[in-house]
């Protein structure tokens, strides 16, 4: 049986996501103990893989997942306890299924299984089931679990909470042929207003066909009404009887149960639209809407919550709910399993490219508007610029993924690395919610993995050594991610033995990377480990220490315009500090000119603009509110003509908690810049991180603040040394 490659690819991706989620939960269980919701989610993951695999007739996966599922079902019903052995077995099953999925991804079909591995696992799984067979009457039907899920949804549907609205709510849909019978729905509305007040009304065009299939003599529209009246239900229905029942009307009395409003869903083409109308017409408030959404049947619930959280009320999903905590958790997991739309990456890239072009075109329009001096045109151009900015942010947000995507791989890595080395290590992770550009995430994953392995292998000492040093037996590795002035900072710390500067020096000299007697700062010594061909491990282990890692780590980070620095305290531990720009595509920039050149800086790096004449200056140091800040003359730096300046403009920028000044000619103000990579002609030129096209068609170079900061620091260092030599 053959399938389209893209459908197989979709299956592979889904299966991988489910397996990754399953792994996370199984590892969480090790930490937090067995929880019902977690086991349910694992069960559903395996069940879903089995279901999808059967569509593709992937019999081996179906057969294997079937047994795994049976065992998990017994765990769910608490016939089997999920002990350490079973957890390890389930992780091994997860790995086996993963490897099968990888084969499918590669070969687009199932290949003969790794039968020995498979039989081993199957036997262990069967052994679990056999134990049950002896103590329990037998295995229940496969679908028991699914029934349970449905049941919980049906129970949840009854919220029993009354809506606060004091008005009637009417939802009308008409028979297609109503016009031909000479009836006009407008007459109904007019008649209704004779014994009450129509507070709000919406004409619904959900079922209006496109022009090809439109029959203009048929009625496709519906009407929603919020009605204030002392009339009875009977009175209102009687008005509608005028229509000779040519249509349907849902009448909801004031203060009805929220559940009653769900009847209206059928009158809309999409639940989201229903939610939108009920919200706009203020029929249900935010909390009530949360309950309303909760009770919508499973598949619809996902769509509605999705639409709601993104459009109508960003926090509806987290609003108060009467469900018990466990049920809430299940629903949260249900949603997280289905909340996403999968989009091909190239489509997304195409969108980002187009948004980039739009930003440039928008900037051009703003520029023309400024020149034209037409207030209305300018106003319109500004409105467009505002929207373009929002579209840009939204489009870039599509590419942002949570750090968690990488972090979730680490517990397993650390656990396995540590057990292979006979060490005990605890992993602490914070800031998993920090977001990073998807393309960068892929490139940073491997370097991070390497650094984490290194920390376990070289950083954390053996148990004996730790006890001897008076430390706790268990080592700790901390992974931390955070946003910091337009960058993402990732820190990997261990509480191990720290790095031995002396040893690094010796090794570097031995490898010919350093000349004996050469003087280096402590930071420079530590940075030697990033030099190609450097490895301090006395024995090469399978985990790290082949000396091919750290230079590659540094190279990968450099490619992302990031930096990596090391802080190490002998005996207390090491921290690797990685700083990455948040995205590479489009930035909010600040434009300056130097001579005839235009430069752009990332706006979030700009701290303030000053006139040098107003502050005390000594050589290249300006004192700003009692703090000395060194500045660079950009003309000097880039060798641009040096005519006298009328005003000494200095831009203060911030980089890695260090402030530097840039002496420029003029400040041009804020702009949006689409950053394009530098032409190969500029390869190796330092100081720029890219080029940007401006609205008027000029090219601006984007300044690499990291390099400038380093340059400033070095100049200062040199000047200091020179001064010291002079005094000698």
């Amino acid at each position: 049986m053959t399938h389209k490659p893209e459908t197989i690819a979709a299956f592979v991706q889904e299966a991988r996501e489910l397996l990754a989620a399953m792994e996370v939960i199984l590892l969480q269980i090790e930490h937090d103990g067995v929880d019902k919701a977690g086991i349910d989610a694992v069960f559903r993951a395996v069940h879903t893989i089995k279901g999808s695999a059967s569509i593709f007739a992937l019999e081996q996966i179906v057969a294997f997942t079937h047994i795994t599922e049976n065992v998990l079902d017994q765990v769910r019903t608490e016939t089997i306890t999920l002990d350490e052995d079973l957890r390890v077995l389930l992780l091994a099953c997860n790995d086996y299924i993963s490897s099968q999925i990888d084969t499918i991804a590669f070969a687009k079909a199932e290949l003969p299984a790794d039968s020995q591995r498979r039989h081993g696992l199957e036997e262990k799984l069967r052994a679990c089931l056999d134990v049950v067979g002896k103590t329990h009457s037998g295995i229940e039907a496969d679908d028991a679990g699914i029934n349970e899920v449905k049941l919980s949804l049906v129970q949840r549907q009854q919220t029993g909470v009354a809506a606060k609205t004091p008005h009637w709510y009417l939802s009308l849909r008409f028979d297609r042929d109503i016009f031909l019978y000479g009836l006009n729905p407008i007459a109904f509305v007019q008649h209704l207003s004779t014994f009450g007040v129509v507070c709000d009304i919406r004409v619904i065009d959900d079922f209006l066909p496109d022009k090809q299939s439109m029959n203009p003599e048929q009625c496709y529209i519906g009407i929603e009404i919020v009605f204030q009246s002392q009339a009875t239900h009977r009175d209102i229905v009687d008005v509608f009887s005028l229509m000779n029942a040519l249509g349907s009307m849902i009448v909801i009395a004031p203060h009805s149960d929220i559940d009653a409003y769900r009847d209206v869903l059928v009158n809309f083409s999409h639940p989201y639209h229903c939610v939108q109308v009920l919200t706009e017409m203020q029929v249900l408030d935010r909390q009530e809407m949360a309950l309303f959404v909760e009770g919508i049947q499973y598949t619809e619930e996902v769509q509605v919550v999705d639409a709601l959280t993104t459009v109508a009320h960003p926090d509806v999903a987290s609003a108060a709910s009467p469900m018990p905590p466990a049920a809430q958790e299940i629903s949260a997991r249900d949603i997280s399993e289905h909340q996403f739309i999968k989009i091909q990456v190239d489509r997304l890239d195409q969108l980002i490219d187009l948004v980039g072009e739009l930003v440039i075109a928008g900037a051009t329009a703003t520029l023309v508007a400024k020149k034209k001096q037409d207030a209305r045109y300018r106003e319109a151009a500004e409105a467009i610029a505002g929207l373009v900015g929002q579209i840009r942010d939204a489009a870039l947000a599509f590419r942002m993924v949570r750090m968690n995507e990488i972090f979730q791989r680490f517990p397993r890595v650390i656990r396995e690395t540590a057990s292979a080395l006979g060490k005990e290590v605890t992993l602490v992770m914070t800031g998993e919610d920090t977001e990073l550009d998807k393309s960068m995430m892929e490139k940073i994953a491997n370097p991070l993995m390497h650094l984490v392995r290194n920390a376990v292998d070289h950083g954390i000492e053996s148990t004996e050594a730790r006890l001897a040093a008076g430390k706790v037996k268990k080592g700790t590795i901390t992974l931390h991610a955070r946003n910091e002035s337009g960058s993402i900072v990732i820190e990997i710390s261990d509480d191990g033995k720290g790095m031995d500067s002396q040893k690094i020096m010796e090794k570097a000299i031995e490898k010919g990377l350093l000349q004996p007697g050469q003087l280096l700062t402590p930071a420079e010594i530590l940075n030697m480990v990033f030099a190609p061909g450097f490895s301090t491990a006395e024995k090469v282990t399978a985990i790290s220490g082949r000396g091919v890692g750290m230079d590659v780590v540094k190279k990968n980070i450099d490619e992302l315009h990031g930096t990596v620095t090391i802080h190490s305290v002998p005996g207390a531990g090491t921290t690797m500090h990685i700083r990455l720009p948040m995205t590479l595509a489009i930035i909010d920039g600040f434009q300056v000119t130097v001579g005839t050149m235009v430069f752009v800086l990332p706006l979030d790096r700009v701290v303030e603009c000053i006139n040098l004449a107003n502050h005390p200056v000594e050589q290249n140091i300006v004192t700003l509110r009692d703090t000395p800040v060194s500045f660079i003359d950009m003309r000097h730096m880039f060798g641009l003509s040096s005519i006298a300046r009328t005003r000494q403009n200095v831009l203060i920028v911030d980089y890695a908690q260090q402030q530097i000044g840039l002496l420029v000619d003029t400040f041009e103000g804020e702009c949006q810049a689409v950053v394009k990579p530098m032409n190969t002609l500029f390869a190796g030129k330092k100081g720029f991180s890219g080029s940007a096209l401006l609205g008027d068609g000029r090219i601006a170079l984007v300044l690499d603040i990291g390099y400038l900061a380093e340059h400033a620091r070095r100049t200062e260092h040199d000047a200091l040394e020179m001064a010291q030599q002079q005094t000698r």
Binding site: I186, L208, I221
Partner: protein, 103 residues
């Protein structure tokens, strides 16, 4: 009888609708009206001559606007007659008819 007239106003195409827009008029005029959906990026529709409009007529205007929107074109209603103002007010469709805005 419903009537469609194409005019040029300040160098721009403008469509004037007049007469009755009811169930009796829609079938004969639908194709002609919908021809304008997506024809111009920005089309002003003058409804000053509309004497009567019912649900069928309204439905046709809704389709015109919806189809134009699909083609990323804007329809702007102006010079509303009393009949149009009445139906817009009754069904809270002021926004749809661009009432309270100037072109």
């Amino acid at each position: 009888m419903m009537k469609l007239t194409e005019m040029i106003q300040e160098g721009k195409t403008c469509l004037a609708l007049s007469g009755e827009m009811t169930i009796f008029d829609v079938a004969g005029n639908m194709d002609m009206l919908l021809h304008y959906a997506g024809l111009h990026p920005f089309l002003v529709v003058d409804v000053s001559g509309v004497t009567t409009i019912d649900m069928a007529g309204l439905q046709l205007l809704m389709l015109l606007k919806k189809e134009s929107g699909k083609a990323a074109c804007t329809i702007f209603f102006q010079h509303h007659s009393q009949a149009v103002l009445d139906i817009a007010s009754l069904l809270h469709m002021e926004v749809f008819f661009d009432i309270g805005e100037t072109s």
